[in-house]
Symmetry: C2
Subunit: 322 residues, 2 copies
Amino acid sequence: MAAAGAKGPVVVTGGAGAIGAVLVRALLAEGREVRVIDNLSGGRMEHLADIAADPRLSFLRADLSDPDRYQERFRGASEVWHLAANADIQKGTADPGIDLREGLLNAFRVMEAARNHGVAKLLFSSSSVVYGQPTVFPTPEGYGPLLPESIYGASKLSVEAFLSAFAHSYGLKTYLFRFANIIGPFMTHGVIYDFFEKLRRDPTRLEVLGDGRQAKSYLRSEDCVAGMIFVRDRAAAPVNVFNLGARDRISVREIAERVVAVHGGRARIEYTGGDRGWVGDVPQQLLDIAKVERLGWAPTLTSAGAVDRTIAELARERGVGR
Amino acid sequence: MAAAGAKGPVVVTGGAGAIGAVLVRALLAEGREVRVIDNLSGGRMEHLADIAADPRLSFLRADLSDPDRYQERFRGASEVWHLAANADIQKGTADPGIDLREGLLNAFRVMEAARNHGVAKLLFSSSSVVYGQPTVFPTPEGYGPLLPESIYGASKLSVEAFLSAFAHSYGLKTYLFRFANIIGPFMTHGVIYDFFEKLRRDPTRLEVLGDGRQAKSYLRSEDCVAGMIFVRDRAAAPVNVFNLGARDRISVREIAERVVAVHGGRARIEYTGGDRGWVGDVPQQLLDIAKVERLGWAPTLTSAGAVDRTIAELARERGVGR
């Protein structure tokens, strides 16, 4: 393990996940010592393969349910990025205990470990799903009531609530980032990934859940990470809540058409119908990002741009297309 | 145990608590079979003493952390009122695990038991503290962001979040009642009770936490219970969020002066200073009750009226005064 960087060591839970692996690179690029904790249930070591030899990077395979296994890593850390969580909303609906345990209870243990070790900043990957089905678009951070429709969303809002209380009760600063759909390298789920998987299994048809008119905003993970780091350095309230997304949105139908086009344009798109993809789905999502823009940061890509880059990357990776 | 009432049996967790005991009486008066579950950590059997012989009332002493001990009580119940929780905000700040376990985890177990037994309605005693330190007064249900400052408040918002998700994921109807300060019979804590206790120990002086300018709205528990039952019968969304409070507020200074007056007016009132009573205190609270009023219900007393009645009751009970 290397000596602490100028700003002190950083802990990243879920650092082997799709967003975590991008964040770890950005923190190393800042010159930080980065301590990853991941149980590899969703994350993969290969996401960190090309940086594994970096002496400032350490990796601990541990489950967050057992603080004794990992809380020593919090010693001397100046900030903790808590990204680890179940990422599969439908799994949480099938068994609500998953998001309770892996979402809230693990986050609570991370908060306690951070508090015990005097960590100054706790940063959390929340989600647009805390807004439930909002009636205001784009949806600002001050929107209420917050009535999430999925168990996953409930766990995100619960973690936000406890982070807010920890900030006010114990003095650490907290950062609640409400993500739009985050896409980019290292993906193992999500609509674009799923479409590629479906077309790999059957190149003649693409089944789309819902009527295809669900429309959301998409943000590349590199932009997402850059935005979080920007906010970390410039916002200093006890609780800092920021939406992170693109200014526009794109429909599932458009994404399906773009994925099919990359595959040669021959697959038939079939919609299962209904206004949402699954129980707990939020068919319309567009975050108001004026708050982070006022702070001085904006994403480099529109939703369509982020989707196109991700489709191109996946196609190249899989040898799909022209 | 008696046969089910016209509307089916009712489970009340925390039914031996100050609000629970008033609710149980109201449900019995409706002709319901009432099944109380209480661990008697805060509640007291004597609160139910005069109705203990009612054949429609049953009591189980059980801790909600152990569903096997109590979930049989949910069988055939048409509604579950979940009132049991730690009620001491400062205790939660000293040990945040208390509100996590007794607030959220126990509520989650109750939700699971309700879901497993096909209970139609789940009703929950939430709190104005979910609003954190709001910037809008009176504060409407749609206020955001929801950033509670106490661990107790975090647990209340977490339970709300999971109830919302349960409603949308599994079809039961949920009722989230955000309480102002509830006062009335059976109290074992709270500002008025505390003032009486302090004057019992030392009749010459009354120490008041903060500068006395904290001002909140107060609602009698009988009004609170009447409001909840009214809403239960008339609101039928998946998630029904309602503030319950008085239209006005009263300052801690005024309450202190009224309590001192009842005690003969001789005690010196001493303020500890600062704009709030303790870490996590919300010094200004006034809920917007227009939503429940539009539904057709309003409290019978102002905050001052509720405080005066409660002071008079406590004085009579303790043989205090003129």
